[in-house]
Structures are given as C-alpha cells and as structure tokens.
Subunit: 271 residues, 2 copies
C-alpha cells in the first residue's frame, strides 16, 4: 500500500496480543507522533475485533513513544450487532505502557440513507500551491515531516517565523508524501499531524504533551488531499483543548477530534 | 452531602472491584442517564487511583443501565507524578457490561498560575426565572427530571412543544433539585443532563443512544447554578456529535464534553 500502511503493521501472536513496531521516522524531535502511535494500536484492535473502522476511539498517552518493538493487548469488552468495543494498552520494550486506548469499531459503509444535517463547511483554504509547506525555524529536522505533506493556510502560518497570529487556529491541507490513500486508521494520524494551535497564541513554543485524544471517524475518506482545521478556545489551569475537523475531497466531514494537552512551558534554566 | 452523592456511592470489595448501585430515579423512561452511570463508575475509579478529579474520561455505552446492583473493576494502567490513568468496566447484575471507561485522574487545585487565554464566553442566558423548566409533551414522567433542575433558554425550548427551532442547540441552567454542590464527578452527569440538541432539528424525537461520551473537567465548580450550552453540527451517516460546555457562577469554564450518538429513528410499525 504505502509507507504508513507498512509502518503501522501488526502481527497477531499466539497469546492474543499483537506485536508492532514504532518505526523510526514518525517522530518530532525523537518522540513518535501521538496519532501514529494510536494508529498502530488501532490496527491491532481492529484486527482483534474484526471490524475495520475506529468509529470512536480515545487514547491516553502515558510515555513518549520511542522507536522499537511494542506489544498491544486488545481486550474485547462487548461484541454487538453493529459495533464491537475493545480496550488496549501499548507497551514498549522496556515494559512500560506508552498509551491506553478504548474504542468502538464498526463498518462505515456508504451512507445509510438516513437524515443528513450539516451546520458547517470545510475550511476555506487557498489552493495547495498557495499554502505553505510546514517548515521554518521552529521545526526540528527530519522525522515526521518527511512522511507527511502539510500545506498551511498563509493566514495561520505566522508561528513558524516568529510572528504568531494571536488566533489559536491552524488550517491546512494534508496528504502522505507518497500520496498513499488515507483510510480510517490513517485519519487517527491526520487529527494529530498539524503543529499545535497554541503555537499561534504567543505563548512559548515547546513540547505540548497530549494527555488524551479522542477521534470520531465519521466516514471513509475519498482519495485526494484532506482539508483540516484545528482550533483552541481555552488555555486554563495548565491545560488546553484542541478541536479538529478533517474533510475529504468530496466536501464531506470524515473525522472530528478533540485532545486535552498540557500548556507548553518555556525551558527553565537548570532544569 | 446530597442525593447525587448518596446515589453514586461505591464500596470497595476485597478483590479490588467496587460494588455500586444504579439507583432508581435517575432514568429517562427506564434507562439510567448516561452521565449518572459514568459518575458511578468514575467514583470507583477515583477511589482506586486515589486522585479526586476525572481530568479526562471517556465512556463507551454498551447496554442500557437498569436499576440494581453493579460492579466496577478499575484497573490502574499508569501512576504518574501528576496523573493516574485507569480503565474500568461497569457490569450489571445479569453479568453483562453496561459501560467501559478510560480516564486520567488528577487534582484540580486552584489555578496553577500559568497562562490563561479564553476565546469564548459563557452562554448568554436570561435569569433562571425567565428560562423554562424542562417539561412538556415529549418528557416521560418521573425519573431523572425529579432529580435535576434544568432551566432552558426560551429561544431553545421549541422542541418541547412541537415547534423545534431548527437550530441544534440547547442552552440552559443546571442544578440538583436539592441544590447539592456539584463536584467534578457531578460534572460528568451535567454534561449529559440536557435534552438532545437534535430534538430541535425537526427530525423525529426518540431515544438518542450515546455510543461514547468524553468529558474534560477543567476546574472544580464554584457553588451555584451552572450555565450549559450544547450544540450539534453534523448529523451524518446515522451518527451525530453533541458538544457541551459547562460554566460556573464565576464565569469559568469547568467542563467540556463531546459525545457520539446514534440518530433517533421514528418507531417502525411492527418493530
């Protein structure tokens, strides 16, 4: 299929756990992207429950993901007519948990013929060639940005050259660099692929550790670039939320996300 | 403390599970309110992890909650410096799972002194006495509405007398009928206490089964009425999301929520 598909592969082991690998190259400054980690876990869970689509899935992040082998242990909680719910923990080779997940899986076939009401529109983005590749002084070299192609709305890109916009919003186009089709597991990566919206706030830029990420996968994406929009409205008490939307080339919402993260703090001398 | 506190009590058992009870009277037409069920589970989880506040918690709903004894089995996944993450299943007396939960618990003490940025305001509500109690033809008698006091914005109350507003939004005031203070566990009930926003869409009114509910508890609420706002933007493919915000009497956001639910369908003759 493609690089993402290869690098999220898991293998069933005789004891009902799955062997996977956090492949080097999906990291930002050494820490694997959280959406990538969740995608690896979700593939093991989807295989265990025998349903293809993570309709709703939450991950709680417990430790940074480092390259190397991981074990995922899906536990089926309930098998229903339309959905199966499972929990899982991903454990690194040091025996420490990297993330815990809880998801309900189903099959998002073509439209069910029921009511459609949408009080929203895809983000209004200039064509990809007028948007900005993710780059600049705040971007660590290598890793994740060699795997995905982000084209950020010119109005939202200020953070990357030291001129945060003051609006905690980042909109842009997404595709894999090899143009691999994005399936519903891939959407779990997409919702965590953009720079943190808080980078446009004027607060210090630094690591924004995700505590928890929930994604609702609403449909299987059509081929082509995805349009994404991320916003933050509340930076309070040391926490912030980041809400995401992903739309496909047919103007259909394919995923919604919300994460709770810790507000970045500037490095403290001596720490 | 009060009725809610009494009715969410759990008791540790020797085998690390907890005994609880789905108390009669927290139901809508026989099914216990989903937020109430999550609150019972969260109390067991908070006790097990020895941290008071469910900073972020997700529940996946597996079967309707009926009155009677339940067992909750918190499993600690990781103990960290600030947070502890645990999963849990709530099982009914018939041995079937009612819900699965995954939560990260901490202690939301007074403000951490960090940055505060808020790009939002509490919902603009007329005084409680100018809002409408939850009542009317679509409301089953008894149960949940005897326990909580909802005062709905006059502009959002159309659904209750057969005149849906066409805007999938419901705003209103919340308190317990005995004016019991709402703690961070109580907020898990508040985020699921209002009528479904989709009732104002013009689609059939019926049961709106929650697949999954995630709540971020951002602060401990001050005493007094809470102001709440719920909105839905996407009814697609048989699913809808409902986003919630809860603000306290000091104009502080205390909780955010999002749930994924199934679109109600009108009763089919012969079904």
């Amino acid at each position: 299929m493609g690089r993402f598909d290869d690098d999220t592969r898991v293998e069933a082991r005789p004891d009902t756990t799955f062997a996977g690998e956090v492949v080097d190259g999906w990291d930002i400054a050494g820490n694997a992207n959280g959406g990538y980690l969740l995608a690896v876990a979700a593939r093991a869970m989807a295989t265990a429950v025998e349903r293809p689509d993570p309709v709703t899935i939450s991950a709680h992040y417990l430790a940074p993901g480092r390259p190397g082998p991981v074990v995922i242990d899906p536990q089926v909680v309930k098998v229903g007519k339309r959905f199966t719910t499972a929990s899982a923990t991903m454990t690194g080779s040091d025996g420490r948990p990297v993330l815990a997940a809880l998801g309900t899986f189903g099959s998002l076939e073509a439209d069910d013929g029921g009511a459609t009401l949408v009080d929203a529109a895809p983000p209004d983005l200039p064509p990809t060639e007028q948007c900005r590749p993710r780059s600049g002084g705040t971007l660590p070299p290598g890793g994740f940005m060699q795997r995905v192609e982000l084209r950020i709305h010119p109005d939202d890109v200020g953070f990357s050259f030291g001129a945060p916009t003051g609006t905690m919003r980042i909109r842009g186009w997404f595709r894999f660099v090899d143009d691999e089709p994005v399936d519903t597991t891939g959407l779990l990566l997409v919702v965590d692929a953009f720079p943190p919206t808080v980078f446009n706030s004027g607060l210090a830029i630094g690591w924004v550790p995700t505590v928890e990420l929930t994604a609702h996968v609403r449909a299987r994406p059509a081929p082509g670039w995805l349009r994404c929009a991320f916003t933050t409205r509340f930076v309070t008490g040391g926490f912030l939320e980041e809400d995401g939307e992903v739309w496909d080339a047919t103007d259909r919402l394919v995923a919604q996300s919300r994460q709770l993260a810790l507000v970045p703090r500037p490095p403290t001398p001596g720490n």
